[in-house]
């Protein structure tokens, strides 16, 4: 994927922020969000989640208008943010079991904060006095035989590498590159869990997912296939779904079994 956000067009209004984003340089949608959040020039705790969501969605819109392919991760995040935006803007209904917009926004802030913390931690680690760079061991060690119990040594990593590589060699390699057609709801959900954590409460995400995961002409087929995937997940116990009335939004939440677990069923 090349530069996806190179907005140097002459028609760009002066008020529009100049954003040159190279998706290749980002470690996924959360990373991109963190970058956008930093551009708000405030601490993460003080960012406007709504503004952040809108910025992200605007970014996705532009990319789509440029008819560039975007990894599903980015699209699923867009769907979630669109949903978040709607939750923030629409007043909470009576008897609504869905998480509030505030809860969702807090969750996003938590995840961004946590990612940022890890990034800072990595930087601090790297800048420590490191063995072999700043600090050195005995250059001419003398042999002492203290802990060498067995005459042979190998690590678990050695063992696993040996196993994997030989089995791989032997496996007849008529490898086909998997075709990625319309994303199934199951795949989308796995990505979603990765990006935004567990959906513990009833969530009406599907319309948003469809909007972002399929181009308009594919929408009908995508609806059909994702609905089928939903039913499959319900059967496996990974998902529960609910619909108030015909044509009402379909609500869902994670079932008693995890997606991975359900996926491992024979």
């Amino acid at each position: 994927m090349d530069r996806l956000w190179s907005d140097e067009g002459p028609e760009r209004g002066l008020s529009e922020p100049v954003l040159a984003v190279d998706v290749e340089g980002f470690e996924g949608p959360l990373d991109l969000l963190l970058h956008l959040a930093r551009n708000q020039k405030v601490d993460l705790a003080r960012i406007s989640v709504l503004a952040l969501a809108e910025q992200y969605l605007a970014f996705i819109e532009r990319v789509r208008r440029m008819r560039l392919e975007l990894a599903a991760d980015y699209l699923v995040m867009a769907a979630w943010l669109a949903y978040l935006k709607s939750r923030l803007l629409i007043p909470k209904q009576q008897g609504d079991e869905e998480p509030t917009g505030e809860e969702m926004a807090a969750l996003l802030q938590f995840r961004l904060k946590r990612l940022e913390a890890m990034r800072d931690a990595a930087a601090r680690l790297v800048n420590r006095n490191r063995l072999g760079r700043d600090v050195f061991p005995r250059g001419a060690p003398e042999p002492i035989v203290i802990e060498k119990r067995s005459a042979y040594s190998a690590t678990l990593y050695d063992l696993l590498t040996a196993y994997a590589s030989q089995r791989q060699r032997r496996a007849i390699t008529n490898v086909q590159i998997a075709k990625r057609g319309v994303w199934s709801l199951k795949q989308a959900r796995e990505i979603l869990v990765r990006m935004v954590g567990r959906l513990s409460d009833w969530t009406a995400l599907d319309s948003f997912l469809l909007a972002y995961l399929a181009s308009p002409e594919e929408r009908a087929t995508a609806t059909a296939s994702t609905f089928a995937a939903t039913l499959e997940l319900v059967r496996e116990g990974a998902l529960e779904i609910r619909q108030q009335e015909p044509f009402a939004p379909i609500y869902m939440r994670l079932g008693p079994k995890s997606v991975e677990e359900a996926g491992n069923l024979p």
Binding site: E27, G28, P29, L30, D31, R38, D43, A45, R46, I47, V49, L50, A51, D73, L88, L89, P91, G101, E102, A105, A106, L107, Q109, F110, R111, K113, L115, E116, A117, R119, D120, A121, A122, L125, R128, N129, R130, L131, G132, R133, D134, V135, P137, R138, P141, E142, I144, I146, E147, L156, Y157, L160, I191, V193, R194, M195, G197, K257, S258, N264
Partner: protein, 244 residues
Amino acid sequence: MNESGSVVPFIIEDKDQAEAERSGGRGIAFAEAKRMAEALVFASAAPVSSKALAERLPDGVDVRAVMEELREDYANRGVNLVRVDDHWAFRTAGDLSFLMSRDQVQQKKLSRAALEMLAVIAYHQPVTRAEIEEIRGVETSKGTLDLLLETGWVKMRGRRRTPGRPVTYGTTLEFLDHFGLEELRDLPGLDELKGAGLLSPRMPSNFSVPTPPVDPDALADDEDPLTDIDLEELGLLTPRVEDD
């Protein structure tokens, strides 16, 4: 051997007597145990476990006391005795790195992704791949985890006793040794991160605002009500350095 001994009176003249004194009256056996431990650890490039030392030193010697005294002896020297998770090693003093790094072999550089994953594993261990991905919000790219395993800093620890039995990852002794950490508790900022709830898999309850909006129209505003949380109070507002 020591011709200037009389001029510099505190240089140990008589080994047995002076050492006995030096070890706080612990006696010759203790002093000798120190020499032995010193020799064993000094000889080895890799950290030597307290257990291994105990096996080699005379019976009844307090290994920990021996090592702590040795550590003090070397505290201000050009070579220091360091502890790495109940293992001991001599390492050149950190402040002399300017002197050492000149003609050293170029270290393999980890990518930003690999480094970030290493940090996630270090701070969140034992952690599964799915959890790493959840924290980073991105699928693990092929080879990143593999690369970390290859460095020897990361290992498969075991399997989580949950459905699916996912493999858990953690850091190794070499990791601590490489980054100059005595133990995992010494990871920089660990306590603050823990206190802020940033090392928990779930969002801590005090992270969200419990107050429901009184006026629904207030939500239409561009400002998110969440910005009003005083996260500073929770210790989340550590000043950060803009690094890119």
